[in-house]
Amino acid sequence: MTDGRPRVPGHRRMLMFAALAIASVAAACGGDFPQSSLRPQSDVAREIDSLFRGIFWWAMVVFVVVEGALIVAIIRFRERPGAPKPRPVHGHTLLEIGWTLAPAIILIFIGVPTMITLWRIDRPPERSEVRVEVVGHQWWWEFNYPDLGITTANELHVPVGKTVDLRLRSADVIHSFWFPRVAGKRDLVPGRVNQLWFTPDSVGVYPGQCAEFCGTSHALMAMRLHVEAEEDFERWVEQQLREAVEVEEAGDDPLVSAGRDLFFGAGGCISCHQIRGTVAAGILGPDLTHVGGRGTIAAGVLENTLDNLASWIKDPHDVKPGNLMLDMGLDDEQARQVAAYLLSLE
């Protein structure tokens, strides 16, 4: 039983690691990653990214040293016939002090930048130019702009180059607000108000999503960040400030008006939803005053099209299991009518 021991050539290990590393890097360079923390688009995200990259290279140094020493040891000191019995070495004080101090020194190079970044980003911002109150719900996001008097859901609009100052709270359980391209996570904790800020530096639309497990449909609690040029943002603000009545007057085809009747009547939608300028003043669900202007519905889960909106209204629990929206028993045609009405609310 002691003979026939298998040989484990060291180069096979090395090859394997190399293959893995190459495959991973190739995979990493191949795709487009709209939600990647490695593609920062704000002051805070850039700072975190460069901190991470610094730590990463120190880790690579340690990785190469440790795995290298291990590979050399197992190749050089593999059992060979006729070799003398190994000397019983019990230790070496200087060596041991050395490899205690070496990691300690590396930690200084990691720890000091960590503390500098931490104290910069974990305190209130120097300027507070766009204030937004974020409220987490199972499973959607409410955005209130207290200075502008705007309430919207799931799509956050901010102007480029301005410091966005968020106050985060929760209406039910713990959620975590995360747009990887512009900032790290910050939790929305019931009973507390948290703060998060960032200054986006590039125009674009960035996906984000809840990062703290918050119940059945946690995976379906996404959101969008629209970083816009100053004038685009102002146009959006102006649009949001308008009441829905004015929008309604704009167009009036039969589908829309049938949907409007359902919305305010048999559909029962107004018990949970608000449309400013109308009698709909529910507070449980998202504000729908300008829902037609949003790119997505159901917290970033579906494109905002007539078909998607209709299927969501018809069977909300099929799209998002466990959510609070009620199945109002509308048939396909009625769901399409309500959807058409909502899409008219730009």
Partner: protein, 600 residues
Amino acid sequence: MATAEAAAHSEGKAGGTYAGGLWSWITTVDHKRIGILYFLSGLFFFLVGGLEAMLIRLQLAVPENTVLSAEVFNQLFTMHGLTMVLFAVMPMAAGAFNYIVPLQIGARDVAFPRLNAFSYWLFLCGALLLNSSFFFGGAPSAGWFAYANLTSSQFSPGHGMDFYVLGLALAGAASIVAALNFIVTIINLRAPGLTFMRLPLFTWMTLVVSFLIILAFPPFTIGTIFLLFDRMFGTLFFEPSGGGDPVLWQHLFWIFGHPEVYILILPAFGIVSDVIPTFSRKPLFGYPVVVYSGILIAFLGFGVWAHHMFSVGLGPIANSAFSGLTMLIAIPTGVKMFNWIATMWGGSIRFRAPMLFSIGLVAMFTIGGLSGVMHASAPADLQQTDTYFVVAHLHYVLFGGTIFGLFAGIYYWFPKVTGRLLGERLATAHFWLLLIGMNLTFFPMHFAGLHGMPRRTFTYPAGLGFEGYNLASTVGAGITLLAMLLFLLNFVRSLRSEATAGANPWEASTLEWATSSPPPVHNFDVTPEVTSRDPLWYDGIALPAGEEEFHMPNPSYWPLVVAGGILMAAAGALVGLPVALLGAAVALAGIYGWSFEPIH
């Protein structure tokens, strides 16, 4: 298993033979049999947890998959975590504590044999109670970390969370009882001459882990009792509208949860610290430093819990303190790695299965340790926490570290327990497949996480770039499963092979190899005297001449009665007060019977 052989080895002294049959296993108080029970139970739950992982990977293989519903997926990842941590790794390690530690210290049994049986049965009751939730309305689905207030009766209305609270209360109590037993055993029952600084590293780490358990589990138990009261009696510990605070749960959980990580890894560190010297034919390099670094890791482990909470908003002072302390853990951990490599350096390395897995641990844990330093840095962690980057990290630590270490231990001690060697060819295939499988499963998760994929999501959309990584992970999980099947095949085949291992097949140096394989009921005919750290090498052992008088404990069914009564009382919390009272009565009767059981 293999008990007839054990009987044949013993020389018919007092208590020197094993009785056969199922009843003898139910009433056993023998540390070796309890060790086998612990291990086999742990192995069973390891397969259960593995199956849960396979289902998770199946669902995530492609975007927007519909193999599992959201609710089932959430139950599966919750139970995967709980099962692997509490019902697979801890009992498999406890199996090794039970079987090996008394042998390593030259003792005839643990200090409290009946208490030992009790902790096994109570652990089993807890594991079965929690897993039975699948059949009674659904398993808990709020994650193994079960953050309040998602766990309140408002947001988790089913009975899943009640099973969580009750099942973990039993398992936690079982762990505390077992840990106390091992502390007393290791401190008091060491053979003459076996001073603390001559203890094998595995025994040392068992001692350290036992202290971790008795210090870490009580805060968690308090947290679960708060939760139980919130859910059943309407208290408001975690309810903000009533002045409670959900963050309190996070503190209580992680004060337990982080030391728990060291409860899982230190036994593996202990195993490889015994295996590497054996297969390098050299004593452990820097023994005192390896011991002290283990103690230091355990000590620091109590001061870092809030690094799981960097995104909670505790403020820069708390975050920088926990960030700094967490980084410090890298130092004693790094020291261990270097000492293991230095042990191999200048040795004569035999690449047998236990050594392959030990080398695997050093290689893989290093990766997990380095990603650990990355999220010790609080700002960097704000991007990494709750993403697949952390899933990658924790599996490099717990799979690449703990599971590889446990496999090293299984291959190492299997001949001691059964008298048989595990097949070396299958073992080698198992090792390489497992190494490839785990890397293919977990390495891509680093990228998925950094590119923005949160964990605990039952689905993910196409177009965010997560598809390739997830498919690779699922393929890797399949390879891991294949590796596990090879192991099981080997395990079953080897149990049926000839018992040819002999007392010391690996030419190892510690005391467990001084007795026959498997050892007799009483372990050693005469208690050995130890004169060096490696007693079986360099003439470090002296066997006193002559016969020794000793007495082995009698079998007892009272531990099972007490554990069963406690299980009934716990189930009564769900079923109704009469059942709870009946259970309490059974437990009390059991304790009475236990107390007045005659000792022959």
